[in-house]
Structure formats: C-alpha cells, structure tokens
Amino acid sequence: MTPLSPADVTTMSASALADALVAGDVSSAEATGAYLDRIAAVDGAVHAFLHVDADGALATAAEVDRRRAAGADLHPLAGVPLAVKDVVATQGLPTTAGSRLLQGWVPPYDATIVARIRAAGLPVLGKTNMDEFAMGSSTEHSAYGPTHNPWDLDRIPGGSGGGSAAAVAAFEAPLAIGTDTGGSIRQPAAITGTVGVKPTYGGVSRYGLIALASSLDQAGPVTRTVLDAALLHELIGGHDRLDSTSINAPTPAVVAAAHRADVAGMRIGVVRELGGEGYQPGVRARFDEALALLTGAGAEVVEVSCPHFEYALAAYYLILPSEASSNLARFDAMRYGLRVWPEGKPEASAEDVMLATRAAGFGDEAKRRIILGTYALSSGYYDAYYGSAQKVRTLIARDFEQAFTHADVLVSPTAPTTAFRLGEKLDDPLAMYLNDIATIPANLAGVPGISLPSGLADEDGLPAGFQALAPATHDDRLYRVGATLEALLADRWGGPLLDRAPVLTGEVLA
C-alpha cells in the first residue's frame, strides 16, 4: 500500500488517524509533524492559533511512539494531536484567554481536562484564539486579532471559540477543545462546518477553565466528525473532585452511541420558538432537509413549544455579566498578568494600579459586560435584574422538562445565519448577541447540545448548522442523532461537507 502523505494524515478523521497509528501506518511524530507543517502553511491567513508548541507536541508524540513500540497499553487516541482553546490552563504553555491582561501568563498547573489529555498521550499542538474571556460570537473581540473563517477568509469563524473551530476546519488540528457558555462551541461549529458538543453541565470538569460565567461554562469537543467528538468527550468527561459542580457519575456511553447511529423510534422535537423569523432561508432549508432525512431513518418528528425561550437571551445577558463581573475581578495586576502604572503617578497606590491596569487591559466587550453585571448585582437592583433572571432560568429549565416528556431530543438550527463578514456586527452588540439565540437555552438549563453541519446555504454557499439538545446526563442521545444525520448527509453529498471547503493554498493564502 502507498504510504500516507501529510495531506492524507491531516484530512483524515481523528478516529481514522488513531487506527492508522495503531496499525503502524504512520507514527505520532509524523502525524504531529504534518499538522505542525499545516499550521505553518495556513495559520498566517487563518490565525486560529495564539501559541504553537511544536517542541512540546513533538516530544509527546515521540514518547507515545516509543511507548507504542514497547508494547504499552495506550489510550485509543494516544498520539493524535489536538489544539486547546486559550481559556484552558496549560502548565508551561502561555494562557491568555484572548486578553491583554494575561499576555505572557504561564499557568503553574494544568486544567483537569488537560491533565487527562496529557495522561492519554495526545500531543498539544498549541492554544487557539478566542474572543476575550470568551465574550463574543465572532472571535473579533480577541486582543490578538481576529481568526478568519477557512470557508471565506473575509468572514468570521464564529465565537467565542472561533480559533478551535477554524483550526479543525482548516485541517490544522484533528481535534480541539472548546468551551461553551452560551454557544461558544456550537455556533462556531455551525459557522465553520465542523462538529461541536457542549456536554451536560457538570459532565466535564471546569477546573482550570478561566471562568466567564461559572454556572454556564462547559468544556467540550470540537471535531470534524461525530465519532471524533464522542472519543474526545469520553476522554475529558467524568467526575473530578476538584470541581464541586462536577457530576459524580460515569460519562454516558457516547462512543457506543456514535457507533450505533440509529434513530429508529426516536421522538425528535422541533422547538417552535427556535426557527422561523430571523433565521436565514438557506439555514432553514438545510434544517428542514435534515429533519426529512431523520424521518426517513425512522424517527418521529413532533413539534414542541418552549414558551419562555423568548426571554432566554435577556436572562442570559443578566446572569452572565453578573457572574463575569465577579469572576474577572481577580485580574488586578497584583499577582500575575499585565500591570499598568498610572501615568504621572509615581506614588500610585495599589488601587490606582488596579484601575489603570483594568482600564488598559480589558477590551470594550469585557468592560461592557463587567459594567452590566456590576449594575445588575447592585443593591436595590439585584431583585429586579439578577433575581428575575434566575426566575426566568427556572422557567426555561421547566420548559425543557416539559418538552422532554414529548420528545427524546429537541432540534433547531444552531445559529440563525451563516458566517457574516468581519467587522459587520462589531459595532452592534445586540445584533452580535442574537447569534446565540438558539444555543443559550441549553446553557441556562444545563442540558447538553451538539451542532453538526447540515449543508451549505443556497444564498451564500456557506455552512449551516443543525443543533440537537438532550436532557441532562443523556448526552449519548446527541451522538445517536448526530451520527445518523452525519451518515445520511455524507451519502447525499458523497463525502464530508468539509471536502467542499475552498483549498487553502496558493492564491487564497496570498
């Protein structure tokens, strides 16, 4: 058989690469090298990475190859490289969360999920770009410049995890870690034609995730296939005693569910409130086709109503800023990160330095949300804002409970539109916030969600996403639906959607 070319290696799925590593068709050092070469070739144009750790990744790869040669019992994904969103603490690797405030900060510890990734022998290629502290839907709020969508370099890759999604879409990594507070895994996945899963809240440890909103944040896989997502999900999931909100139960059988890929007899609920007006026609068309395919595969499609979802965005933009205003208070120049001395104040107090640093270090979106949250928590306003938002949150959770008595999963388009142009919504925060209208309810209720490509919108030829949501701790259902739909769509397209992405070589990169 012909040896695998670097292009073969970087375009195959993570599970296929894992098989090739086991079969000895390619070494981890070769695969990791191929990905590093790919990053070197295209990341100048995509800017998915904030930091690339070639030495570290190659060292891990060599170690895995050595252990494999010695006959060691390795994790199924051992030797498959991956990229990590820069909001996740990585010992010895810079971690900035896309903020100037943390420029140059190198954590002295690993996030639990990173520790699990390292223990399993996955080379960490580097850290991916993101909106500052995960606040945004376009990755334009990164202090280090935007990431470009591999489908059209003039467009946004979604956010906040645009770097992870773009890295996977541009074949710069087979796997990536994302985090999802209101859609930051799922919306970029939809926008870039990739797969992203937000697990059940508490299903994956938050220890080492730089917190945006503690009650909403959840880390999850960003991949090119549903099975790859399940493999990574299984690796990072499970109880962690360092996270009090971690669920003390085994991860649902997500890999088995992805292999099963069967929806016969499943009740699929279309959420009336997540569709229709405000959704781009091409996005709706692909969504309707996906439903038809699932019906053809034996699923029963029902319509469900979640009447309180219309208040989800408003509640989210009170709860998130409130928690964020407190979580981001620690960036004060006292112990780590940026320190700005106030101009003309040689005798500045600690308070003066805190003020000057925070004024210079936070971007506009972070400031906007800190101010919103500080206001919402203030005495006299707390009940009206934070208190009311928590009540809405309870009502949304009840809507889900009710809906899940009629359906096994709920589905909708992931995002209302395909990728918009860089700069298009930067000055209109409300328009930007609306990108997450379909993804936010899952975070408020803590339920898991998946986004996978549903096809290209007719009007612009850009990827659209299909979202499925399941009851808490039933993440396996997402993979059953996702793997089924993925297979049906691949049959229809004659291959993965990403095969249709423009090739990032030559004049595109010039």
Binding site: P107, A213, T245, E323, A329, A350, Y382
Partner: protein, 493 residues
Amino acid sequence: MISYEEALQTFEPVIGLEVHVELGTVSKMFCGCATEFGAEPNSQVCPTCLGLPGSLPVLNGAAVESAMRIGLALGCSIAEWCRFARKNYFYPDMPKNFQTSQYDEPIAYEGAVDVEVDAGTVTVGIERAHMEEDTGKSLHVGGATGRIHGASHSLVDYNRAGIPLIEIVTKPVTGADARAPEVARAYVGQLRELLLALGVSDVRMEQGSLRCDANVSLRPRGSDVLGTRTETKNVNSLRSIERAVRHEICRQAEVLLAGERVVQETRHWHEDTGVTTSGREKSDAEDYRYFPEPDLVPVAPSREWVDRLRATLPEPPHARRARLQQAWEFSDLEMRDVVGAGALELVDKTIEAGAAPQAARKWWLTELARRARADGVELVELPITPGQVAELQALVDAGRVNDKLARQVLEGVLAGEGSPEQVVAARGLEVVSDDGALGAAVDRAIASNPDVAAKIRDGKVAAAGALIGAVMKELRGQADAGRVRELVLQRLG
C-alpha cells in the same frame, strides 16, 4: 472626657459582638493547603487559595462539621439547606477580589448563651454563625506605625488566605446596662472556653485565631430605639475588649452630650493609649454585590448528621466548671483563678493523673505560671505535661524529694531532660533518708556544735533547727529533713 458614671446617667449602652474564629482544621476551607501558623510566607498556597485563573473551590467537610458543632453548642438551629455567597470588593490581600462567605443563608442561626458576670447571668442572643474564608495578611513596610498610611510598600502573605473562619454574631445586647463592658469581656471569654472544649480552634487571640469586633451604641434612657453604632476593631485580648467598650461608651456619650451625632464607622482600638480612633466610614450603602457562589453546591446536612453531632457535644463549660469546683472543693476565688489562668484543662488532667486537687492547682498557678510569664508563653505551651506534674507531686508525696528539690526537678523537666523520675536519677536529686548516712551526718553535726547540742539536751527543742540546717548543708539539701529531726532528737532527747 466624661466619666463612665456620667455617661450612664443619661444613656443606656447597647453592645453587639462579632467574633471571627479560625478553625483548627488541617487544611484550608476550599483547598488542601496546610493551615499551620507561622510558616514561611506564601509557602502554604496553591492555585485555588491564590485565586489563579481557572481554579475552583472545594468545600472542607471538617470545617462544615466544626461550624455545626459551634452552632449547636451555642443553641442555634442548623440550616437544612444553605449556600455560600460571594462578597465582592477589591483589596490586594483578597486573591479573587471576592470573599467566599455565607450571607443570608448561615449554617447556624438563632441561638443564645448565658454569660456569667459577677452580679449574675446575662443572656446573649446569637444571631448567626456562618462560614467564610480568611483573607491574606498585608504587611505595610516603611511607615512608622505598621499601618498603610505612610508605608512605602506592602507585602502580602497568602498563607492565611482561605483559612476557614466562623463568624459568630450576637444580637444587640440590651440588658447589660452598666455591666456592658464586663458582659462583652465575659461573653468572649466564655466563647473562647467553649471553642476550646469543642476542640475546633486554638483560640489564640494574640495570634489572631480569635478576633473580636465590638459594636457599641448608646440610646437615651427609656428609649427603645437603637442609636448609631460604631464597630471597634483590633481588640486582641479579653482585657482590651472590656476597656474598648468602656472607652467607646464614654466617647459616644461625650459626642452626644455635645449635641453632635455619632458617625457610623469602623474604629481602631489602641492598646497603648486606651482610646479608639476613626477608621474608614462604614455606611450601609457599602455595596458588596452579594450573590450565590456558583462554584459551590449547596450545603444540606442530613438531620442524622446534626443529631449525631448534637449527641457528642462536650459538657457545657459552665456546667463542667460547677461540677469540677464541687469535686475539687475549690473556693470561688481559687476556681476563678484557675479559669482565668487558662489552667482548667491542665489542672483537670493533672488531677486525673493522680495529683491531689490543691497540689495540682498550686503547681500550675505558682511555679509554672511564673515560668510561663517569664517565657511569654501560655501555660499550655510549656514543655511539660499534666502527667509529668502529677508524677512530680507523687515524688513529693512519697517524701522522695522535698519542695526545694522538687523545683529543681521541675527545672530539669522544663529543660527537656526527661520525666521527673529521669531527672531525679540523672541529677541525683533524691533526698537521703538512709539512716546510716543520715545518722553519721547527725553525729558529725552534734560533734561540731556542742553548745547547740547542750541546749537541746536542756529541752530547748527549737534549737534543733541549727543542727538540721548543718546536716542539710553537708548533704547539699538532699536530706529528708523530717527524718534528720527525728534522729537529732533521738540522740539528744
């Protein structure tokens, strides 16, 4: 300033006390770091107690149990379900710039303790006892006072950050009247004893493991409306609590009699000058933007757990004191001295180890108290155990050492030379009661003091002291004086 008596003519004082207790848990409130006092600065820290980005808290179950035991001992109800909150404010010794604390859902609430003062008993209502984490400790360098004003820079030690604290808040104490300062002192003293008996804290005020803020307000006699209060900090001993409250009553009376208003503020107690000075103004408008801590799950202790803790509470200190006083046959004054010296446990254990009550009391309140004062330590910190004190007393009771020798044995034990028996053996301190050796010495003494011997023969028995002294001198004090006397009188009687 006007006198205390004058102040009380017009006004009735109302006090309230907020006591912070550092729990003696092995690890911190939300991480596994050690809590040892006096360790090298910033050596007992980790990502969580440093508030590093991404770190998360995990609640210390032992701290929760201590909090519940304190609550139960104070007669409080224990919450069936409660949460932590974030208290948001910026300060360099606060790693996260919020303190994880309980706010409107304390673990324990609505209790009461009876406080004994000279003139009787005053009931102090307990509003709440809640859990929180301590902050780091700032050291202001370069100023004259060690305070932030005038300092050139500050150092922060985060070893203290995250140490578990219980804050115990009383209700306003309105019935104490002129005894308010005494009640304040007695309440804290009694609380301290209770915490010691519970074994939840070492309650060392001088090391800050028990910190007290005293709230004082005055109202015109006959009024039932509370006046504006001040909160006095830095009261680091029982004595200064009493002094600070008394001073604050006089100061506020003077302000009010001058037609001015008391400013609601934090005040700072100065032990050396005996006055309070204004700290920062503290208005109710100060906004900590509390909200439930999303990184922790609610605390919901089962009723079985609470019942089990209730069943294993130690005997209440006042009941125990009464019982022991009766058993030991101590006078009120003797008992108060023992309690006041912090020697109750030590005396009890010494008696348990076999010493007679009066002997045990005497050792701890005289020789050992003197030694502790000289070394500037607490009695309990002396390098001697109650068992060793009892062993020493047994040597005295057996006549094997006399009082003078016993003090030398004590020196040896405190110097780390071993148990009393070992010191006696090593230093050769045992009294000589062997008749052969003593008789020879007595004969020599008689021979060299014929005139004294003659007096004794003539019936002047009191003169025997001179011969006994001579024998003792020859045997370097290690003679059984009683036996020497008998031998002298035998020979000359």
